[in-house]
């Protein structure tokens, strides 16, 4: 009999919560790590040149001639495109979420700390921005400045600002009632110092969760935009455009649609699970029923 046998059966709620949270973070984290790994590896190595057109090997099936996932209609290696496409996906996500967080968070904290008409103006502007979904914004910007990865990133980022502002404001409102803020104010700390030293660190965890969820939405938006021709321009590989190029060949070579499709879904699933898991892990009070 070992010491382990004397432990109570792992049926209590805390244990199960820990277990489940771990599962979400583990599965989500693994999927995200795979995407990151593929993207990073693509900088130094891909099985083939991702943009090399090879007329002799057009539409080669999977596992043939060293093409792990086959080739597309131009003879480009699908596996290599997928790896470089991961780079595009992550790049767009990082910039878009970065833009949204850097603009949205201060706005939300400001609205939460200031209150009154300033809060009202910020939140109404937020509502207005809400009426311009990323897709619409990107199509508009694309019509004006031409489609590119940059316009897609800016459009997705700007459209994501309201999400960060709302969450930051809500959390700030909660924090402002706590005793440590009262103490800091009584000690004569400036508003900026309170925002930076007391509010931000205390709302950071929920902003990280928001970043993870927003990242998933950004991946979906980038894929949709590239699919419509408003995102990444050829020849730079992008999962959304791989899907769009595969559509005409759906009857003969469905593999070309499945590969980027599964990649998009798994990446989004990864970031969503990671966000959910982190939410539970960082703040059990906010846990949704799942």
């Amino acid at each position: 009999m070992t010491a382990l046998d004397n432990l109570p059966a792992p049926t209590d709620r805390a244990y199960r919560r820990w277990h489940r949270v771990n599962a979400s973070i583990m599965v989500g984290g693994t999927l995200v790590a795979l995407v990151v790994l593929a993207a990073l590896t693509s900088f130094v190595w891909t099985p083939h040149d991702a943009v090399h057109v090879d007329a002799a090997h057009r539409l080669a099936p999977a596992f043939s001639d060293g093409f792990l996932l086959g080739t597309d209609k131009f003879g480009r290696d699908v596996a290599s495109q997928l790896m470089v496409g991961a780079r595009t996906t992550l790049f767009v996500g990082i910039v878009a979420v970065g833009v949204a967080a850097v603009i949205g968070t201060p706005l939300g904290v400001l609205a939460g700390m200031a209150g009154g008409w300033l809060s009202e103006v910020v939140m109404r502007a937020n509502d207005l921005l809400f009426a311009f979904p990323a897709l619409l914004l990107a199509i508009m910007l694309g019509a004006v400045f031409g489609a590119s990865t940059l316009t897609a990133m800016i459009a997705i980022g700007v459209a994501t600002i309201p999400a960060f502002a709302r969450v930051a404001r809500g959390q700030t409102l909660g924090v402002m009632h706590t005793e440590y803020i009262l103490a800091a104010r009584a000690a004569g700390r400036s508003r900026l110092a309170i925002a930076l030293r007391h509010v931000l660190p205390n709302i950071a965890s929920i902003l990280i969760v928001q970043a993870s969820v927003s990242f998933a939405i950004a991946i979906l938006a980038e894929a949709a935009l590239s699919f419509l021709g408003f995102g990444t321009r050829p020849p730079t590989p992008s999962w959304g455009r791989m899907l769009q190029e595969s559509q005409e060949l759906l009857f003969s070579t469905p593999r070309l649609a499945f590969v980027p499709g599964i990649a998009i879904a798994l990446a989004v699933l990864g970031f969503n699970l990671l966000g959910d898991g982190l939410r539970d892990w960082l703040d059990p009070k906010l846990r949704e029923h799942r």
Partner: protein
């Protein structure tokens, strides 16, 4: 309630006005001159100037804006620079297709979400419930256009049961119309249904813990019957709100799905407008979509207040 409605309505009007300025301003930044685009590179300066006068683009921006915006309430979106057709009738013409798509998409979402979410809540402790929750997680991760492509592969390519695209007006041939709308609305509805089912599950779980359900069960009602008779209305409040917010997502999702299934809706009109550099058409279509989203958000706010009076004081 009257004051709340008034304030929300005022916010809607102001937001719409500001949105029209934003849409106009973004499109006015454009580097190209519509007159030059219309006439091509070999046009003389006189011809371009004449064309500018014809389009009215030689006037100050504020005049152009007021001229454009004053026509909007009456459905006058101006005349296309490219086709010289009136834009209003084109938008009305395409709006029907998109509205049918969104309506069916929403119905599909409800049909998917309510049983899935309820079952996942009732069995939340079992493997089956966990699997259902996992299924909805996967559904959330699939973009609508990908769902569309997969559905085309299954129903049009493999089983050849439904058409892969195209549109026949309802009045012309109702059976074909329905068959052609099924896959597009299913691809919108499945994804939104997955999102919605998570809220249904959460709402049903909350309701299941209420005393009145325990009382109903103690009276001898089965779980599903107790939920239906006493829980459904209470669980509906958060679900209806989410459903309202999803309407806006469905509308924008329709833009992409229309492209997958070559449906002649607002989305196709918008994308064709961009492709042809038909800026006034793009401007008008974007404005319609933005006003629709603003209007939906307004209705959700009002509905929210009607369903739950406690929320009227908030915000």
């Amino acid at each position: 309630m009257g004051l709340y409605l008034l304030v929300r309505a005022a916010v809607l009007v102001v937001s719409t006005a500001v949105a029209s300025v934003v849409v106009f301003a973004v499109m006015a930044v454009l580097p190209g001159d519509p007159a030059e685009v219309a006439l091509g590179v070999n046009a003389t300066a006189e011809a371009v100037a004449a064309k500018r006068t014809e389009f009215g683009t030689d006037r100050p921006l504020t005049t152009q804006f007021l001229d454009w915006v004053s026509g909007l309430p009456a459905g006058d979106f101006g005349v296309s620079y490219v086709t010289t057709d009136r834009i209003g009738p084109q938008i009305v013409d395409r709006l029907g297709v998109t509205l049918w798509l969104v309506l069916f998409g929403m119905l599909m979402a409800i049909v998917v979400a309510v049983p899935l979410g309820t079952a996942a809540a009732v069995r939340h402790r079992s493997v089956g419930g966990l699997l259902l929750s996992g299924l909805s997680q996967v559904g959330v991760a699939v973009p609508a256009f990908l769902a569309g492509i997969l559905l085309v592969y299954l129903f049009a390519v493999t089983w050849q049961a439904l058409p892969s695209g195209g549109y026949t007006p309802l009045a012309e041939d109702p059976a074909t119309w329905l068959r052609q709308l099924l896959l597009p609305s299913l691809s919108l509805g499945l994804v939104q249904g997955a999102v919605l089912s998570r809220y249904v599950r959460s709402a049903v779980l909350d309701v299941m813990r209420e005393d009145y359900i325990r009382t109903a069960r103690a009276k001898g009602l089965g779980l599903y019957r107790a939920l239906w008779k006493h829980g459904a209305r209470n669980a509906a409040i958060p679900v209806v709100t989410v459903l309202g917010l999803q309407l806006a997502t469905l509308l924008i999702g329709a833009v992409v799905v229309e492209r997958v299934f070559t449906l002649p809706g607002l989305g196709s009109l918008l994308l064709d407008g961009v492709a042809n550099r038909d800026l006034l058409l793009v401007q008008g279509t974007v404005m319609v979509l933005v006003v629709a989203v603003l209007g939906i958000n307004f209705l959700v706010d009002v509905l929210y207040a009607l369903l739950d009076p406690r929320l009227r004081g908030v915000r």
